[in-house]
Amino acid sequence: MNTKITFVELVDMIAESTSTTKRVCELFVKELFATVSQALIDGEQVKIKGIGTFKVARMKPRKGVDVNTGEPIQIESHNKLTFTPDKSLAEAINQPFAQFETVVLDDDVTDEKLAAIDEEHPSAIPETPIITNDIGGTLADEFPEFHEPLPATEPDEFFVPEPIGSPKPVQEEKQKLEPAPEPEPEPEPMPAKVIEPEPVAVESEPVKTAEPKPVKPVLEEPEPVDNFYRPEPRNVYTPTQEQIDSASARSKLKRWLWALLAALVLGILGWLIFGGSDNGNKQNAESSQEVAPVDSDATTVEASSVITDTVTSKIVLSTLSDRYYDSPWFWVYIYEENKNIISDPNNVKPGTIVVIPPAEKYGIDANDPASLKKAQRLSWEILKGK
């Protein structure tokens, strides 16, 4: 890979493949190129079978600039040696890109036509919004979505279990574990806010294990949340739930609403605290037992839904596209998906691990000419922008 093969190595390789002595091979390579050089000096053109043609061309005098000083200089006429590789050799070397062909782009392509294609294929989701949601998606944007379903679903949640008595053990556990929650609901919501953050940090982990069942369905029912965010909401809502549970025991609607508001604030605060300390927790052996189920969940979800691959000097975006979508043209979507780590799609650093988006996400279908055409246009747009 990008290494230089010296004369000695070259001779070794030839000797090995022809099973002759190194000495013969060394002589041969020297003799061959001495002959070629002599013929070239004599002004001849030399063709070697399986390698290519060497040709000397006379270059006319021309004007140029000194690359260092920028001064105009006169370049005198000189001989230049050109090499044209043999067709078989050229093809062998271009093998990684052999599947590509030059494609004529329609020059009557307009934005309206592109839009028309998008409408025809509703499965082809517009690129930009998706990308922002998935890659960077500011959590502030996500929050309203998560909180909106909360008030709607929660009443069922704690009105139903109350008579049954299922939250009671939880509360008892809480009291055993932590005396702090006791005073917390009694004072006005304002002090509650102040007191809460500390107990939450300590408490929420045991709670998670104590009542996993009521929490999970609530989270999954309101809306199929993005895989990536599932672990976080759990952390956010556990404190919320428990706080509201204790509030509902008193069943005062006014206080209730206040508590809900406080819970929202606490939820955000708790998330901020947990969001930061989550990574640390992973390493901490002590908390690993409580955190483990959540973490493993997250990793399995990610592993099953996200396909990644590595770019090398021979495997580029188009190669990957060909591998996963049966057409090299869909590299544009791999690029779109990994825009944050790829600056130039033509020059992806070998070793870069890219995410391969699922084909449905961009309406990728190698058998659909419209989908192909769209990808081609997109790739043209991208390359034009460079």
Binding site: L27, E31, T35, S37, L40, K47, I48, F97, F100, D107
Partner: protein, 90 residues
């Protein structure tokens, strides 16, 4: 100088048969194929370097029809003349 004449010249200079030389040339081409295919460059002292280069994908315009075309990326085998031979050719 075509391939046949070249092989004959080398064969007579080395005192070997043309078949031997053909085999050796084929082996050399094989080395270029495999090693340059792996983006390695092969150096022949006093003559030059065979080095593969990646050409990027680009949009070009057909000079006659004016149609825009998307030219795919490719790897081409380049050759860089050694300074010794360059000076001799001048």
């Amino acid at each position: 100088m075509d391939n046949k004449k070249l092989v004959e010249t080398v064969a007579s200079n080395m005192g070997r048969t043309t078949q031997d030389i053909n085999k050796l040339i084929e082996a050399f081409a094989g080395v270029l194929r495999t090693r340059c295919g792996e983006m390695d460059s092969v150096i022949v002292p006093g003559f030059g370097t065979f080095e593969p280069k990646k050409r990027n994908e680009r949009v070009m315009q057909h000079p006659k029809t004016g149609k825009r075309m998307l030219v795919p990326p490719k790897i081409v085998l380049g050759f860089k003349v050694s300074n010794v031979l360059k000076a001799k050719l001048k």
